[in-house]
Every structure is written in C-alpha cells, then in structure tokens.
C-alpha cells in the first residue's frame, strides 16, 4: 500500500515533486498557522505530539482512506514543536484516479485526524513567549 506519514520538528518545507502512476487527480491540503487565535495575535503555535501513537494513528487513517475511498497514494506530514504564523504545519496529499474520491477523502481525513490523532496545539502569544513551554 502506498502511504507515507512524517512527523517532523518545526514548519514544513515546500512540497516535494510527486508523481503517482495512473493518478488523474492529485490534491494537496496545507494547514497554515494563522496570525490570530481566539481573537488574539499570536507568534505561532506549538504542537505537542504523542509520537509513537500519533504516527501510528496517521498510518491507520491513511490506510483506511486508501481502502475506503480507493485512493492510489496518501502522504501526510505534520509538524511538532513551534511553527510561526504564516508557516505550514500540516500537509496532506492524496492521489486518486478521479477527483471526487480525492476531495471526499480529504474532508474525511482531516475530520478524523482532529478527532483521533494525539497532537495538541498551544498558541504562542506575541507578547508572551513564556507560553511557548509548559
């Protein structure tokens, strides 16, 4: 089964080139840290991950997406630690024969990830760098 999940320190870099044999649709979602959280300006978000489990849950979600939506390939990347606002903390790429299954799977995957994958985020306020650590 073609899937890859990566949890890495800090912001994600630009997406690598991606070609998938037989794919007619490649869909990429990037989650970007916004400059405002709960109406307060923030410097960024700090992500805390329960690593072995987060990785395992992402792998299971990716495998299920491939099975249930008939995808050809799934790539997931998520940040751990601090990500400044404007930077990318999450990237999901799906390859499918047709766009419908890719778009449906995209929505499903992100909902499930927020529910099932043990990753927590904490705003780092502009004025309060101490909130960056516990």
């Amino acid at each position: 089964m073609n899937l890859q999940t990566i949890i890495q320190d800090g912001a994600l870099g630009p997406a690598a080139m991606w070609r998938v044999e037989g794919a007619g649709a490649l869909v990429c979602f990037e989650g970007i840290v916004r400059p405002i959280e709960a109406e307060q300006p923030i410097a960024g978000l700090r992500y805390e991950t329960y690593d072995p489990m987060a990785e395992r849950e992402l792998q299971q979600l990716a495998a299920q997406a491939i099975r249930d939506f008939g995808l050809l390939d799934v790539r997931v990347e998520h940040s751990r630690g601090f990500v400044a606002n404007g930077d990318c903390s999450f990237r999901l790429r799906l390859a499918a024969v047709h766009r419908q299954e890719a778009l449906a799977a995209m929505d499903w995957f992100i909902d499930r990830m927020k529910r099932d994958v043990p990753i927590w985020k904490r705003p780092v306020l502009v004025a309060d760098p101490s909130s960056a650590t516990i």
Binding site: M53, R115, K121
Partner: protein
C-alpha cells in the same frame, strides 16, 4: 501496583507535570476504566478535562474493558485533540 500515565497538552498544564503516578488496586484484572477512575480520584485537578478523554494502552485506544498489565505504556488522550 503504581502505574505511570503520560499526559499532554491541557492535561499536562492542569497537572503541572507530564507524567502522573497512579496507584492501582492489587487485583489480577485492572481495566482501562479502573485506571481512568483512579486518575480522577487521585488527581482532582484533571477531573473536568477527563470527561473528554480516554486511555491509550501501548499506543492504542482502549475501551472500558481493555486490561492493563504491568509494563504497559499508558497515556491520556483527548477525545478531540484539535490538531
């Protein structure tokens, strides 16, 4: 037995720690629901948060009847972690 339970995010904030020590009854069948009840009993600061949490045993979500054995890795996971 005494078990260590990993905690994260708001749970760690509320407890002021990243690991909890929890005393468990000395029976031969300790389930995930027993662990969670003991965490709430012994760490009152977490009670409100625990309503939306579950136990993970060895990196898998446990249900109430999952049996916990010495040496298992235990962690408290939010029902919505909000990644």
């Amino acid at each position: 037995m005494t078990a260590k339970v990993l905690i994260f995010g708001p749970f760690a904030d509320a407890a002021g720690a990243r690991t909890l020590e929890v005393c468990l009854p000395e029976t031969d069948r300790v389930t995930a629901s027993v662990v969670m009840a003991q965490v709430a009993e012994q760490h009152p600061a977490l009670r409100a948060l625990l309503r939306h949490a579950m136990l993970a045993v060895n990196c898998s979500k446990a249900d109430d009847t999952t049996v916990v054995r010495p040496g298992d890795e235990l962690a408290i996971i939010g029902l919505v972690s909000g990644g």
